[in-house]
Amino acid sequence: MIPLSHYLVVSAVLFAIGTAGVFLRRNLITILLSIEIMLNAVNLSFVAFGRQFGNLDGQIIVFFVMTVAAAEAAVGLAIVIGLYRHRESLNPDAFASLKW
């Protein structure tokens, strides 16, 4: 049997990787992917805690997190497409002005 702490450490490492990706990468699509990594790390903690305490609420929350992630990906990618049409670039530094 694997202790709960193992799952939690995996989750923490995944979350840190996602955070590092948001800061390090300068490509809007990769930044969105890093956000997905973070959401998945949190999902893993939820399922592990739910299993540990014999509670189904963890899995329910994961279901909602997935729905929100889908909505976020759809809107985020639409914004990325719109930005790319204006600037021909995916570099976040290219979008420094609020209006053009």
């Binding site: 694997i2 702490s5 955070t19 992917l33 990594i37 299993r51 014999g54 929100v68 990906a73």
Partner: protein, 177 residues
Amino acid sequence: MPETLVFWALSGMAILASALVIGQRNPMYSVLMLIASFGALAGLYIQLDAPFVAVAQIIIYAGAIMVLFLFVVMLLNAPQEDAAEWDRSHPLRQRGVMRFGALLALLLVIQLTWALLQANGADLPVGARGNPEALGSVRTLGRILFTEYVFAFEATSILILVAMLGAVVLARREGDR
């Protein structure tokens, strides 16, 4: 013992694939690596007696969301980062700043691990409590979802509708009004 082995293999694969997502420059490979990471996570969910979440992970995440990402990557046909001059001369590219960032990332891992390990019963093996049959069953899950969480469920459907409308409006061309 095989259980432990499978856990290490799956978690190693998830971490390695996630590291590769942010570790290289071609967004196409990033998306494919993230699909591998999600597959490994689905295996971990099965180990945690959550088959519904595992299947949803494969169908929704690896199936729907990642295909959306792949579609956009192919549609934009964006140049790889790091090829341009602005990338090499970026202020965050300096060595000292990068070392500082690596230190901060390590600190984040330590802090998160410490915070999570404060949880009650973190050393107990997973699955010591609760009945795996009842926990894994989609029937129980569905009953809870449509009774206790029915308001949140309906709210999510509105969220999806709004997101769909938003995506259509945002991705529309300027001249199409």
